[in-house]
C-alpha cells in the first residue's frame, strides 16, 4: 500500500541559547488515504509540535513530511488545521470566517456564486448554517469548534489535522461533536490526523492509535489498530469486547509503561 502522508525520520530539537532540547526523535509514520489516525500521549510529549510540523507551522530539524510523495515544509490549505481553541477571527462573522479560506483556495477555480454556495454547503455539513451572520462571541464553544471544522473542511484539505479539537469543551458537547466528526469522516472519507489526550475519544474515532512515549526525545511507542467496524455507535461500544480491549491497551501504555512524570 502506498503511503498518502508519510512522516520520515522526523527529529525536532529546540535550541534556546546554549540549551538544546530534543523534543521528538525518529518519528516514522505512514498514513493511508481515508484513514483516521490519533496521536495520544501525555502533555508535553511533543504531540502538538508534531502536528505543527505536519501543518508546516514549524519545521523539523531533520527528516520531513511527504504528502502524496511530495515534501511539504510550509503551511498550506492542503493540510488544514482545526485548532484547539477554534481560532476564529472575532471581527468576522461565521460565514466570513469560512469564506476567508474559501476565497483564497478557490480564487481561480470557483466563481463568486460557487464560492458562496460552497461556504454554505460546509456550514450545513456542521449544522451551523443558521448562525451564518453571527460573530464568534455570540455562539457557544461547541458551535465555534463546528465553525472551525467547517473552515478547515471548506479548504478541501488532503489531510485534516485536528489539534485536540474537543479539549476545551464540556463532556456532553464533546460527545456530540465527536459523533459529528465521525459522521463527516464517514460521509466525506477525509484523511484525518487527530491529536488527543482522551483515551475514549481515541478509541472511538480512530482506525489506528499512535501512542507516544514521554518527552524529551519522545518516540512512537506503539501503534494500535482499532478493528471496530464503522459506523460506530457510542452506546453499543460501551460493552463491546474489542473496544474495551483497545481501551485497556492504551491505558496500560499511558499509565503503566509510560507513566507521566511531573517535571519537578
Amino acid at each position: 500500500m502506498t503511503a498518502y502522508l508519510k512522516l520520515d525520520h522526523i527529529d525536532k530539537i529546540f535550541t534556546r541559547g546554549a540549551a538544546t532540547t530534543e523534543v521528538l526523535k525518529e518519528i516514522n509514520l505512514t498514513i493511508e488515504k481515508g484513514e483516521y489516525v490519533s496521536i495520544i500521549g501525555h502533555s508535553g510529549c511533543g504531540k502538538s509540535t508534531l502536528l505543527n510540523i505536519i501543518a508546516g507551522l514549524t519545521n523539523a530539524t531533520t527528516g520531513g513530511v511527504l504528502l502524496e510523495n511530495r515534501e511539504v515544509n510550509s503551511p498550506g490549505p492542503d493540510r488544514a488545521v482545526v485548532f484547539q481553541n477554534h481560532s476564529l477571527l472575532p471581527w468576522l462573522t461565521v460565514y466570513e470566517n469560512v469564506r476567508l479560506g474559501v476565497d483564497k483556495v478557490f480564487a481561480k477555480t470557483k466563481s463568486r456564486a460557487e464560492r458562496d454556495a460552497w461556504v454554505m454547503h460546509n456550514l450545513n455539513l456542521v449544522q451551523m448554517a443558521h448562525a451564518r451572520d453571527k460573530r464568534p462571541s455570540e455562539i457557544s464553544g461547541g458551535m465555534k469548534q463546528r465553525v472551525g471544522i467547517a473552515r478547515a473542511l471548506a479548504m478541501e484539505p488532503k489531510v485534516l489535522l485536528l489539534d485536540e479539537p474537543f479539549g476545551a469543551l464540556d463532556a456532553l458537547t464533546r460527545a456530540h461533536l465527536q459523533d459529528s466528526v465521525m459522521a463527516l469522516h464517514q460521509k466525506l472519507g477525509n484523511t484525518i490526523l487527530m491529536i488527543t489526550h482522551d483515551v475514549d475519544e481515541a478509541v472511538l474515532l480512530s482506525d489506528r492509535i499512535v501512542m507516544m512515549t514521554n518527552g524529551p526525545s519522545a518516540r512512537i511507542g506503539e501503534v494500535l489498530e482499532v478493528p471496530l467496524a464503522r459506523p460506530r455507535k457510542r452506546l453499543d461500544l460501551a460493552t463491546n469486547a474489542t473496544y474495551l480491549k483497545c481501551r485497556q491497551r492504551v491505558l496500560e501504555f499511558l499509565y503503566e509503561r509510560h507513566r507521566f512524570v511531573e517535571a519537578a
Partner: protein, 296 residues
Amino acid sequence: MNMSAAKIETVTPAATIAPVVAMTPKRPPRTDAYARMARETAVRVIPPLVVIALLTLVWELICRRAGSALPPPSKVFRDTKELILDPFFDHGGIDKGLFWHLSASLQRVAFGYSLSAIAGIALGVLVGQSVWAMRGLDPLFQVLRTIPPLAWLPLSLAAFRDGQPSAIFVIFITSIWPIIINTAVGIRNIPQDYRNVAAVVQLNPLEFFAKIMIPAAAPYIFTGLRIGIGLSWLAIIAAEMLIGGVGIGFFIWDAWNSSHISEIILALFYVGIVGFVLDRLIAGLGKFVTRGTAQN
C-alpha cells in the same frame, strides 16, 4: 401560562389554599421606557450640574470683592456677551469671532493629526512586526517622545520659515509617539493563533495586513489615536501662542496682552469643550470600528 393551567388540573384541593397568582397587567411599555430613560439621564446629568453650580458660586463669592485679580463669572459673562452671542463676525485680520479662531486651530489639528495617524500606524506596524526595526527604532522613539511639543517649534520654524507648516509639524511630532507605540504593542500582541490561521490559509502579506493585523490591533491603535488627539489639541494651543495669526491659541495670548481676562476665561472654556468633543469623537469612532474585535 400552560404551566399554571396544568397545575390547577392536577392539584385540585391544594389549589384553593395556594391559588395561582394572577399576573399583574402589563404597564404600557412605552411610557415606562421613557420614564426609565429620563431617570438614567437625570442620574448622569444632575450631579455634574450641581457641582458646576456650586463651583461657580464659590468662584463668584471669591472674585466679587473689589480689587480681586480675576473677574467673577458674572463679569466674565457681561464682558464676553458679544463674543458668545456672535461667534461668526469677521472684521478682517485677527479680529474675528471665536468660531473662526477655533476652526483655524481645528484645521491645523486635522491636518497634522491625519499625517501623524498615517505615519504613526505605518511605523507602529513596522516596529511591531520586525524585531530588527524595533531594536533600531525603539530607543530613538523613547528619547524623542519625551521632548515637549514647544521645544520642536524653533527648529521647525527654522526649517519651514513659516508659521503654518511649523504649527502642523509640532502637532504631527507631538501626537505621533503614542500612536506608534500603541500600534506596535497591538501588532506584537496579535495571538499566534491568528498568525497560524493566516499561514494555513496562505494569506499574502498585504491580505494579512488588511484582514488580520489591522482588525486585531485596532483596539490598541485607537487607544494611541485617542491619546494622540488629546496631545495635538494641547500642542496647537501652545504653538499658536507663539506663531500668531488666526487661532484660538493666539486669541488667548492676544487677550492677555490687551488685559481682557474675561476673554481668556471664555476661550479656555471653549478649548476644554472642543478637546472633550475631539476625544469623544475618536473614542466613538474606535468603538464603532472595533465593535466586533472583542476577545471571546
